[in-house]
């Protein structure tokens, strides 16, 4: 099997598994209990907090453990909305291609009376900082722009956006779920007030993540109950998951530069190989994208059938077609970068990692070429395009 869907989830690392099992076997006490067995779990929890804080240049007290990226996004946005509402500030700036954890939270807030401005991400899939600045109002209570996009991998100019927000005194949140563990992320450089991350995207376990909230940021609870996480997130902590997340992050950051360089080379070879397919196009800017992300549109074919046939060849990938999303519309990300429906249905995302060999890359290129050619051979759209009845878009 060639696993090329690391943006969906990553394989948990050996270290993370060992950490989890050892915590479950030996340190299974409740961190809130005061006897030594419980306090040992508390220690592990705090060690993990320190390790994660160090990894992103934060203070341990600024790290809040959550059930993953979605919860962190929800809590970050809800918190700033609640603070804003108190001051009569009910405007939020975000981008058109955020993850649904952000977009759907914003939708819910709109129903509660908030106004949301979504800045354009243009053809390259990159937010323009000046446009964020122009969107700011006196009543803006939050700017939330993702660090790197999960579908097309484009890295956003978050340092500039953070600078703008800081100057205006507006809280800035970034969904860094796809960035943490893959590219350098430092909360000091980015001038973030809030940042979301998720363990299963960097070879940690599923169902665990964290929210960074800088000093002075007041969080609102999504979950009420006990006094865990300094009163901001109730529920007995997922100690095995949290400890494993910390170890997975440290491991992911070891030799990050070299790993990135190696991966970028493979990614670029993959892009080069797939570009040979006629009437295809890379989605998102070629530079400044996540080292493992490749996303293409192939005209005249549909994404789900492409995925199923690649699966038959042992390749795991994903698509932004409607039929894979379960709705009638293709990916909002592809529409946001201006891909029309016809073309957006024929998209393919390959997200490779360290374990993808050069040989795997060649196998992927060969297989995608074969499958695209096969599907085009009985596609009525392709026939119309080739016969000149319709004009090629790509």
């Amino acid at each position: 099997m060639i696993y090329a869907d690391n943006a969906a989830t990553t394989k948990i690392s050996e270290t993370a598994i060992k950490t989890m099992t050892s915590v479950m076997e030996e340190t299974w006490g409740n961190p809130s209990s005061l006897y030594a067995h419980g306090q040992r779990a508390k220690e592990l929890l705090e060690e993990a907090r320190e390790e994660i804080a160090r990894a992103i240049g934060a203070e341990p007290r600024e790290i809040y453990f959550t059930s993953g990226g979605s919860e962190a996004d929800n809590q970050a946005i809800r918190s700033m909305a609640a603070q804003g509402k108190k001051k009569g500030k009910m405007h939020i700036v975000s981008s058109a291609f955020e993850h649904h954890a952000v977009l759907h939270t914003l939708k819910a807030l709109e129903k509660e009376g908030f106004e949301v401005t979504l800045v354009d991400v243009h053809e390259k899939g990159v937010v323009v900082p000046e446009e964020v600045e122009e969107a700011l109002r006196d009543d803006t209570c939050l700017v939330t722009i993702m660090f790197a996009n999960n579908e097309i991998g484009t890295i956003q100019p978050i340092a500039e956006i953070g600078e703008i927000c800081k100057k205006r005194g507006i809280p800035f949140h970034t969904d860094a779920v796809q960035a943490v563990g893959h590219i350098p992320v430092n909360v000091k450089d980015g001038k973030f007030d809030l940042l979301s991350a998720s363990a299963h995207k960097f070879h940690g376990p599923k169902g665990v993540g964290f929210l960074y909230a800088g000093k002075g940021v007041r969080l609102t609870n999504l979950i009420e109950g006990g006094a865990q996480e300094r009163g901001k997130r109730a529920g007995t902590e997922n100690v095995p998951g949290i400890a494993a997340m910390a170890k997975a992050l440290t491991e992911a950051l070891e030799g990050l530069e070299e790993k990135r360089e190696r991966l970028t080379k493979k990614r670029d070879r993959l892009i080069e190989g797939l570009k040979e397919i006629e009437h295809s196009a890379l989605n998102g800017a070629a530079d400044n994208r996540l080292p493992g992300n490749v996303n293409f549109c192939f005209e005249g074919i549909e994404g789900e059938s492409l995925l199923l046939l690649l699966d038959d060849k042992g390749i795991c990938a994903s698509s932004g077609s409607a039929c894979t999303s379960g709705s009638l519309d293709p990916s909002h990300v592809l529409l946001a970068i201006g891909r029309v429906h016809d073309v957006a249905h024929g998209s393919l995302r390959l997200s490779i990692d360290e374990e993808t060999s050069d040989e795997d890359v060649e196998t992927i290129i060969r297989s995608v070429k074969e499958v695209v050619e096969y599907l085009r051979s009985f596609s009525p759209i392709w026939r119309d395009l080739v016969n000149g009845k319709k004009e090629f878009i790509l």
Partner: protein, 125 residues
């Protein structure tokens, strides 16, 4: 659990009656690229019996499988029988489709009906 039944996967992997009939007696095309599925059916009809049928499909796994199954169900049938083809029959013959994929079988029914309409119109004129 697999996304699709064995039958769907069989028809998806080895679609029957793929292609074009150059001198077709009826052609139907339904769906649009906006929603992500397009089907085109070609019928060869003699003495009001469907002698041959071919299809081309742009779409997901169940769209391809539904087209393939629909062609199998009407091949060799009298036109009067083919006109009774329903999306339910297509879906059942495929051992079922996920709920959100039922529209693909509807499309297959519509493609066949549209090709039959075309045949009737041509015959009348």
């Amino acid at each position: 659990m697999a996304l699709y039944s064995e039958k769907v996967m069989d028809h998806f992997r080895n679609p029957r009656n793929v292609g074009v009939i150059e001198d077709a007696d009826g052609i139907g095309e339904v769906g649009n690229a906006k929603c992500g599925d397009i089907m085109k059916m070609y019928l060869k009809i003699e003495d009001d019996v469907i002698r041959d049928v071919k299809f081309e499909t742009f779409g997901c796994g169940s769209a391809i499988a539904s087209s393939s199954m629909a062609t199998e169900l009407i091949k060799g049938q009298p036109v009067s029988e083919a006109m009774k083809l329903t999306n339910k029959a297509v879906a059942e013959a495929l051992d079922g489709l996920p709920d959100y994929k039922m529209h693909c079988s509807v499309l297959a029914e519509e493609a066949i009906q549209s090709a039959l309409d075309d045949y009737r119109k041509k015959k009348e004129s």
